[in-house]
């Protein structure tokens, strides 16, 4: 009897609970997405609309500020610089990580433990503290203000090496033995067998490297001075001065810098998230 009476009430309570939960989920998502929405709205706001009180968050489409930025800034150059630096970094990181990861996973040689420690200990060095000596070394190597200094220091990644090592360790030993019996060398084996089979690792390392390369700011700020080779992030920081309080133009420039990363992320978010989550378990293991 009492049981029957309670039944609908309980359902009601359950429903209100999940409703509350979904409300929280949506609020959180909106909070995180809204600033990005604001970029778009501000970039395409009408001239006076930006400075209205109270602020106007409704979407509008006045492309004049955006067109101005497109036409009057060298954004294509900065973008090309960023793409070139990020792309090259990704390719190099993949190469160095796969090779080193393979050596640490599959080969036995004297000093393997020590080498592995050298690879791991790099993440203990605080990046901020090393900037000054890194600058001095770049100076001595005559690498200041070059593409090379934006790429080479990031061409090796502890995370990449560890991930590849883990993946290669998971491959059956007989894969290599079968290749070896047939006279296949290490490099050909890596290229034709190990790397294709480690595709998830390749994707994860490539994406995370690309994102962090795309987002570099302090490093190129210090190491480069000529605008012809600087990336978009440094250029944005210049624009902040150039456009002062012209928020529509600033937002337009920001929009230009954001769009490629956001598109890439939306296309590949599953892989990226899996890569980050995997990094966590990798460290704990």
């Amino acid at each position: 009897m009492t049981f029957r009476k309670q039944w609908p009430k309980q359902i009601g309570r359950m429903r209100s609970f999940t409703l509350l939960r979904w409300a929280a989920v949506i609020i959180i998502a909106v909070l995180f997405a809204f600033p990005l929405y604001l970029v778009v709205v501000t970039a395409f706001q009408s001239h006076g609309g930006v400075f209205s009180i109270p602020p106007d968050f409704a979407p509008a489409f006045h492309a004049d500020a955006f067109m101005f930025v497109l036409e009057h800034t060298n954004w294509a150059r900065f973008m090309a610089n960023t793409v070139f630096v990020s792309g090259t970094t990704v390719v190099l990181v993949l190469a160095t990580s796969a090779l080193a990861g393979y050596a640490l996973a599959e080969l036995s040689f004297r000093g393997r433990g020590a080498f592995f420690f050298l690879v791991l200990a790099v993440i203990m060095l605080p990046a901020q503290a090393l900037l000054i000596p890194q600058y001095a070394i770049a100076l001595h190597l005559r690498l200041l203000n070059t593409y090379a200094i934006q790429i080479i220091p990031f061409a090796a990644s502890t995370f990449g090496i560890i991930l590849f090592r883990q993946f290669f360790k998971g491959l059956p030993r007989a894969y290599w033995e079968a290749a070896r019996l047939e006279g296949v060398g290490h490099l050909r084996y890596i290229w034709r067998v190990a790397l294709p089979l480690a595709r998830p690792a390749v994707v994860t390392v490539a994406l995370l490297t690309f994102i962090s390369a795309w987002n570099q700011f302090q490093w190129p700020l210090i190491m480069t001075s000529s605008t012809s080779i600087q990336p978009i992030e440094v250029a944005l920081s210049h624009y902040m001065q150039t456009f002062e309080a012209n928020w529509r133009k600033l937002a337009s420039a920001v929009l230009l810098a954001l769009t490629p990363v956001v598109i890439l992320f939306l296309l590949l978010q599953r892989h990226i998230v899996a890569g980050v989550a995997g990094r966590d378990s990798g460290v704990n293991a």
Binding site: P35, A95, S97, L131, N215, A251
Partner: protein
């Protein structure tokens, strides 16, 4: 001939035959083996060398160099380098701004660690159910998206949000019937504004890490507790939280190191239209920022190097202390 004798003889002659050729070719064999051994090592070192070269040239050598510079009077371009012992450190410690920057960094980090950890944990708990739902990845992606955006680009938007007159922040405060704030123009609220930007930008990463940790909590343990009649809050405290402690520890370490080294968002939000970064009135000048400015704005490399070394030691100490604490608190399965 008895069987045993026959066997022994056969074995003996076999041994003799074995030994004879071994003697004559042992040197040659040893050489072949050594060459093969060497070749294997060359392959291994060859495969490792590109990565190691980068690490050594751009990380290990600089780390050693940093220590060297900080004990010398040294300029990037000046040829006169002289050993000054602890002089750089003495001058550094005599500077009130250094202590101020240290305090600012400490303040920033001390707020960011609990804020990051608690918010990330809370959000991941809220998202957990939504993520397992069909197409739940959308919510996770929305939270993670800010983390992949370039810091400078999005910090510019946060400057706009914190605009005292036309910004979103004060608009919201007004709707909540709270007094409007000067945000980046005031010494009191500039750093909190930076913190909000940083939280927005970084929380996604920590949420994903927590979600991965939560996914690893065995369902059975939670269900057993539920069958035992434990309340939700009790299950969370007694079952989920202990199992999540390695993840939490990882998040705390990561948040500490990232907070203490925060640069781009501070530089962007407090520089630009507001003049030299770190303002107003040095209220946002953290250690990391001061090192940068001392070296690259004021060309005082030795002093900056000494400062960087202090930064280095602090980060190392923090990590060690946290590791020590974790050994008592963290429960590893």
């Amino acid at each position: 001939m008895s069987l045993l004798q026959e066997r022994a003889e056969l074995a003996g002659s076999a041994r003799q035959r074995r030994e004879r050729p071994t003697m004559t070719r042992s040197a040659q064999a040893r050489r072949a083996r050594r060459i093969r051994h060497l070749k294997d090592h060359l392959v291994a070192y060859g495969l490792l060398s590109p990565a190691l070269a980068v690490f050594v040239v751009f990380f290990y050598v600089p780390a050693a160099y940093l220590v060297y510079i900080s004990f010398f009077h040294w300029g990037v371009l000046s040829s006169s380098t002289s050993f000054v012992g602890l002089e750089n450190f003495r001058r550094l410690f005599a500077q009130p701004l250094f202590w101020h920057a240290l305090a600012t960094s400490g303040y920033y980090t001390l707020v960011m660690i609990p804020a990051t950890t608690l918010l990330a944990l809370g959000i991941s708990l809220v998202l957990k159910e939504a993520v397992t739902a069909r197409r739940g990845g959308v919510w996770r992606a929305a939270v993670f998206l800010p983390h992949v955006t370039p810091v400078v680009a999005t910090s510019i938007i946060w400057v706009w949000i914190f605009n005292p007159q036309f910004g979103l922040a004060n608009f919201v405060l007004e709707k909540l019937h709270l007094p409007a704030l000067g945000w980046l123009d005031t010494t009191q609220w500039a750093l909190p504004a930076v913190m909000i930007d940083s939280l927005w930008h970084s929380l996604g990463l920590y949420v994903i890490i927590f979600l991965a940790g939560l996914a690893n909590v065995p369902r059975e343990l939670v269900e057993v507790a539920r069958l035992d009649g434990a309340r939700r809050s009790r299950i969370f405290r007694r079952v989920i939280l202990p199992l999540l402690s390695p993840t939490t520890f990882f998040v705390v370490i990561l948040a500490t190191v990232n907070s203490w080294q925060a640069f781009s968002q501070i530089y962007t939000m407090t520089g630009g239209p507001h003049g030299g970064a770190g303002g107003p009135a040095f209220s946002t000048t953290t250690d990391a920022l001061l090192v940068y400015q001392t070296a690259f704005s004021f060309d005082h490399f030795s002093l900056a190097a000494a400062m960087a070394l202090v930064l280095f030691v602090i980060i190392l100490l923090l990590t060690v202390i946290q590791k020590w604490i974790s050994n008592k608190v963290v429960f590893y399965r």
